[in-house]
């Protein structure tokens, strides 16, 4: 058994790509080894800013031997055919073949024994293939070479059981050498085994394990914040990114000018995190941001960090000075007077400017206000100002603060809190975990914005395809679903879509109809995903959506829930079986007679007690179902349906559908059809599995 160590050493790899690249290296090499019959005991990959690598254990020294059988011509086949076969199998004469026999007689079989190759040779073949075929999100050439890598690739370390596996990729010869930290350990390191490798890297100031780097950063950061009696603001994404920017992390703490604390804290945190990759700190007593920050260096400075800290403090103070300048300047101009400038921002080519979009949202949001219970005035105000912060200096500088700044500026102007909240929250919810707005004005604007976006892109035929969803339309649809369901809004979605659709520039009635239809089925799909995540069965959602005019999401969900509960009962299960049986029989007989049995069954043709009972039960159930559905009592409708179970069961037990008398037979088939019709008033049972 042998261990494989592979390291690809390059110039700085973007932080966001490192982990995926190491994983890809692992899976590509492991797969090719497996294909070559080389099994691996354990695999481990690693990445730092300058290297991705792989450590595999328990490789056999050789590939297993394999014997391959090749079927040849029949015994007694023409000479030429046999000669050709022998040549292709690499055999001298027929005696080297075995003969086998089947129904048609005897035939030749060549058994070719293949000796397993040395694992090292297999690796020497595989690794260059993996490197050449590697997929980076963006790759490049350098110097005079033709190899593509994320940044120039400098060396390849590849050893099996401590010995170099020799190969060459575009001029780079594999070896057992690598380099340590760019500044602390630039010298060559010889490391033929994984143990030596990690040990020598650590001596050369490289922490190979990402988790270890993260721990060091977090522990040091916590240490600093605790010693300052502050609380570190947890930010896992930032921690992950920073761990990809350093090989030898060291956290330090800096201070910024207290005067900047008057700027909204989202701005301070964003300026620290997005531009500078700094962690923010809070005062646990007040819960407010402190004028301190933690930053992570890739160095153990000789002066203990005073120069680095001073430098970072200067940079952050300059950044925050900019931010404060924007904050002060932006508040001098009212949001209302900014609206005009939205004409300069294109929303999307064929969908006009952001100004146009805001104009479209107005009537839509006001209409929705009637359902959400929002007051019209704040709704109008919120929708008009919803996008105005896009033309502030702050949002230009920090796009991720859109909405948040709008709210601050609105409140600074003295506008109503509900208006400010709606400006901030109309982008929400962004995804399944995001907070969903619950105040009426916010809901109205948030819904209007998303519905406009969806039907707009649908009308110009820019729908999501496969994994491509550049305008995040799936997220928008999920947003609509969550807004409606979580706030229990009774809305006919199609009406709202059509209304919104007619506002889109160059909207054509025929195209809009088709687009709205298609969008509704997109909603059905998204709803399925949403409900499935909550544990509902997708076939039940289909069964409800198949009913005519299903666009009231709250009703749909209530129906799905009632249906699910019903099908979990014995009555439900048996009735579903009875339904399927009825449908099967009908399908066969309708095909045979080339007709459909949708006439009303006649009492006078009923001779058996069971069929009379069923007919009565159906009539009664229909009445009860209609009454229940009218008041949206879906549980009641299911209960009414449940009463059909016993009569349906006895009908199938006691009555022979295919009677000799053709009228009786037709009458019974008509009765079966009634079962179908009656159940399908509640849900399309044909879509239900099981």
């Amino acid at each position: 058994m042998a261990d494989l160590l592979l390291e690809l050493f390059s110039e700085e790899i973007p932080a966001r790509m490192q982990v995926d690249a190491a994983r890809q290296l692992d899976s590509a090499v492991s797969k090719k080894l497996k294909d070559a019959g080389v099994e691996v005991e354990s695999a481990k990959h690693f990445s730092t800013p300058r290297r991705i690598g792989l450590y595999l254990t328990g490789l056999p020294k050789e590939q297993p031997d394999v014997s391959e059988e090749r079927k040849g011509p029949r015994v007694g086949a023409p000479e030429k055919a046999i000669e050709g076969f022998l040549r292709s199998a690499g055999l001298e004469n027929v005696d080297a073949c075995e003969t086998r026999s089947d129904k048609k007689g005897e035939f030749y079989v060549a058994v070719i024994e293949k000796k397993g190759r040395k694992t090292a040779d297999v690796i020497a073949e595989i690794v260059p293939e993996v490197i050449r075929g590697f997929h980076w999100p963006k790759s490049m050439r350098w110097g005079t070479g033709s190899l593509r890598w994320v940044r120039p690739l400098h060396s390849i370390l590849c050893t099996l059981d401590g010995k170099v596996v020799e190969f060459e990729v575009e001029g780079i010869q594999s070896g057992e050498l690598t380099h340590g930290h760019r500044f602390h350990g630039p010298e060559e390191i010889k490391a033929a085994t994984f143990e030596k490798y990690t040990e020598r890297l650590k001596d050369s100031h490289v922490i190979l394990e990402r988790v270890e780097r993260k721990d060091i950063i977090w522990n040091e950061a916590t240490h600093f914040s605790e010693s300052a009696r502050l609380e570190l603001v947890r930010d896992d994404a930032l921690l992950e990114e920073v761990a990809g920017l350093v090989e030898w992390p060291m956290a330090l703490m800096g201070t910024f000018d207290e005067a900047f604390l008057e700027v909204p804290e989202e701005v301070l945190v964003t300026a620290m995190r997005s531009h500078q990759k700094y962690f923010a700190l809070r005062d646990p007593k007040t819960g407010k941001l402190a004028n301190r920050f933690i930053f992570v260096t890739n160095l153990e400075p000789e002066d203990g960090g005073s120069a680095i800290t001073a430098g970072n403090e200067r940079v952050l103070n300059a950044r925050l000075a900019d931010a404060k300048f924007f904050w002060d300047q932006d508040r001098k101009v009212k949001l209302e007077t900014r609206i005009e400038k939205l004409k300069d921002i294109v929303f999307y080519d064929k969908l006009g400017t952001v100004y146009d979009k805001v104009q479209r949202l107005k009537p839509l949001a006001v209409e929705l206000a009637a359902v959400t219970g929002a007051n019209v005035k704040p709704t109008e105000q919120a929708v008009a100002l919803a996008k105005a912060d896009l033309v502030t200096d702050m949002v230009y500088e920090f796009p991720e603060l859109q909405g948040i700044m709008g709210r601050y500026y609105a409140l600074a102007e003295g506008l109503d809190e509900s208006v400010g909240d709606a400006i901030r929250d109309h982008y929400a919810p962004q995804g399944p975990a995001d907070r969903c707005p619950s105040s009426p004005v916010s809901i109205s604007v948030a819904l209007a914005d998303k519905i406009d976006t969806l039907i707009g892109f649908w009308q110009i035929d820019e729908k999501p395809t496969g994994s491509r969803d550049p305008f995040a339309l799936r997220r928008a649809a999920l947003g609509v679903i969550r807004l409606i369901l979580e706030n229990e809004l009774r809305i006919n979605l199609v009406d709202r879509i059509m209304y919104a659709g007619r506002q889109i520039p160059n909207s054509q009635a025929t195209k809009l109809d088709a687009a709205a239809d298609d969008l509704l089925s997109f909603f059905a799909d998204r709803l399925k995903v949403y409900l499935r995540d909550k544990g509902a069965r997708h076939d039940l959602i289909d069964a409800v959506f198949a009913l005519p005019k299903q666009d009231d999401l709250v009703a749909i969900v209530a129906r799905v829930e009632a249906l699910g509960a019903f099908l979990d009962t014995d009555d439900g299960k048996n009735l579903l079986a009875g339904y399927k049986r009825a449908v099967n029989i009908l399908r066969i007989e309708e095909k045979k007679d080339k007709t459909s049995f949708d006439a009303k069954p006649q009492k006078k043709l009923m001779s058996e007690a069971a069929e009379k009972e069923l007919a009565d039960a159906i009539a009664e159930a229909n009445k009860a179902i209609t009454a229940s559905l009218k008041v949206e009592n879906y549980k009641g409708a299911m209960a009414a349906v449940a009463h059909l179970r016993a009569p349906v069961d006895s009908f199938f037990d006691d009555v022979k559908v295919n009677d000799k008398d053709k009228d009786v037979r037709a009458n019974r088939l008509n009765l079966l059809n009634q079962i179908r019709a009656s159940l399908e008033g509640v849900a399309d049972f044909s879509k239900i599995e099981g």
């Binding site: 700085e12 966001r16 350098w142 110097g143 120039p152 160095l299 120069a307 680095i308």
Partner: protein
């Protein structure tokens, strides 16, 4: 060179010139035209194409009319200096060469945190892109580092490494000042103190901001744009890529001024960028067919 490098603005330039001259670069003087970035210099754009090696370094004044702040913002100027280095093909040790240049400027890695942070570069007007980093020193971006992949829409044959030092930023860092106008530029005034960056450029920032935003005549500029565009096409027909490229640079600057005057709408903006790109593509194509742009062997064959 003395142990303590001259930290004045001009000292910085002199140090960089000397350093890169020693690395085998041609030290060029600024191109005598208004341009938005050093990359527009024909010594970068055109020389990056074709099979011939090329090493050059130069200061290029960069004009970005929209960045004018009438001399009131200490960090933002409509005219500033870039120091450009282009090494073609990019040598194996280019990162080390760059780090050594910082050391020559007095930035010691033992006490400063120098980092290569992902930053890909793209110029829609030049039809060019590359991959690389912005280089951070203690959290501040001090340089841009790019491996050119495409220029003028053409895949490069040899990959150039391009280094761009933002000289004002770097000087502010080295001198420890937060106000660009307070930078020590160099020379000596009668009182024995050095001239400041403000002494040299403040009035020019004020006046050019007024020109860029208020006085530049837009009708004239629109006309100039068309004229340069037409002239460029004519020169390309005459197979004169260098004069044609001058017209492209001029058209690009006209566009930048019009942009600052706020007379180009969002949709028009894309169209104008596309028109400049067409010019630069044409120039690059013609360059590839010129003596310095093609291989010598091709001529023999």
């Amino acid at each position: 060179m003395t142990d303590a490098p001259d930290r004045s603005f001009q000292g910085l330039i002199l140090t960089l010139q000397q350093y890169w001259a020693a690395q085998g670069c041609v030290i060029l003087q600024p191109y005598d035209m208004e341009m938005g970035a050093g990359t527009f210099h024909p010594a970068t754009t055109l020389r990056a194409l074709g099979p011939k090696p090329w090493n050059a370094a130069f200061v290029q004044p960069s004009r970005r009319p929209t960045d004018g702040r009438y001399g009131e913002n200490p960090n933002r100027f409509q005219h500033y200096y870039q120091f450009q280095v282009i090494l073609k093909p990019s040598p194996e040790n280019i990162q080390q060469l760059y780090l050594d240049s910082l050391a020559a400027l007095g930035i010691d890695w033992r006490n400063h945190d120098i980092r290569f942070v992902e930053d890909d570069w793209e110029s829609p007007t030049l039809g060019a892109w590359g991959l690389g980093w912005e280089v951070w020193c203690d959290g501040m971006e001090v340089s841009q580092f790019t491996y050119f992949q495409q220029v003028g829409g053409f895949d490069v044959e040899l990959v150039s490494g391009e280094l761009t030092y933002g000289l004002e930023r770097l000087a502010m860092y080295v001198q420890g000042t937060d106000n660009g106008f307070d930078l020590e530029f160099g020379g000596k005034k009668p009182d024995g103190k050095p001239f400041t960056y403000g002494d040299v450029f403040h009035q020019s920032e004020v006046e050019f901001s007024a020109y860029n935003f208020e006085h530049a005549d837009t009708d004239t500029l629109f006309q100039h744009f068309k004229d340069h565009e037409a002239e460029c096409a004519k020169l390309l027909e005459a197979k004169l890529p260098l004069p044609a490229y001058d017209q492209c640079i001029k058209a690009s600057h006209c566009f930048n001024l019009l942009d600052a005057r706020g007379v180009i709408s969002v949709t028009e903006r894309q169209a104008y960028i596309g028109r400049v790109r067409e010019l630069s593509k044409g120039c690059c194509a013609a360059w590839l067919d010129s003596p310095q742009g093609r291989s010598d062997k091709q001529e023999d064959a």
